[in-house]
Subunit: 140 residues, 2 copies
DNA sequence: GTTCAGTTGAAAATGAGTTTCGATACATCC
DNA sequence: GGATGTATCGAAACTCATTTTCAACTGAAC
């Protein structure tokens, strides 16, 4: 995926955070993982860049990135997933194999800042559930 | 909540499953819990009906109900939630206190059975994220 | 190069959810 | 109503993702 990590690094430096090999590796792993990666996948990919990376640091860095708004965190089928912040989009989730694909349409007409029954709405999350081409084939 | 549990009990009997005090209690707890209850809440409420109920049985019964299609299972903020099957609806989730409220509108135009990019869509899940009236007050 | 606080990673702790297995109690038969 | 067989129960043990702890390490500044 094309994602420029330098703004993240700059933001860290400017806030007094350190730019370490471990953090670079997690960012790199996240980029390579593509859409909606789980923690293990990021860990596996990041470890190729920085072999002595610990899983704990992956958790910590992903959490940091999420708190700073660089990545989105969500869950599907008991798996926590992270993805680099991108233009608003949703997901197609395969109930057979668990793969996740991006869906760029958004049919939700509730703007951020709107009020619904007293709730101040700041965002939303939509998943279309179903079966990917491969799993459809298997089910026949 | 108004939910008639007798069809569930009948279905169980007709399939050779046993209608036990523990299972009745879990159903009762689920009814009392209202919209989108987590396992602990169901356990706590069901235990009032049947004090020697074990947590394991709550997990097992909720899983059974989900497999048979009587309840929906979903996750939010790391918490697994179950709710009795009801007319199609979505949820308002408070990012402050975690409470969940029902939202009866559905702006998603993708019918079950439609195909999106090769995916066969069988359903969807939508959550509006934001802050409930109480949490809005606290944030001031 | 020295310093020092932010960061790391191994190990231990936590906690939700699952499995195991002997005990229990529904549903059926008589 | 009581005996029987098996589905179900619940306590304890287990699994595994995630978090906490803490001594060692290392960016960044001087």
């Amino acid at each position: 995926m094309s994602f420029d990590t330098s703004p993240v690094l700059q933001a860290w430096r400017s806030r007094g955070r350190r730019v370490t090999a471990a953090r670079r590796a997690v960012l790199e792993g996240l980029c390579r993982a593509g859409c909606a990666a789980d923690v293990r996948t990021v860990y596996r990919l990041a470890k190729r860049v920085h072999p002595r990376l610990g899983l704990v640091t992956v958790y910590r860095t992903l959490d940091l990135l999420a708190r700073e708004g660089w990545v989105q965190r969500w869950e599907e089928g008991g798996v926590v997933r992270y993805e680099l912040d991108q233009p608003h989009h949703h997901h197609l989730v395969c109930l057979g194999c668990g793969q996740v694909r991006r869906w760029d349409r958004c049919p939700v007409p509730v703007e951020s800042g709107a009020t619904v029954g007293g709730f101040l709405v700041t965002g939303h999350r939509l998943e279309l559930l179903g079966y990917c081409p491969t799993c459809r084939e298997v089910m026949r």
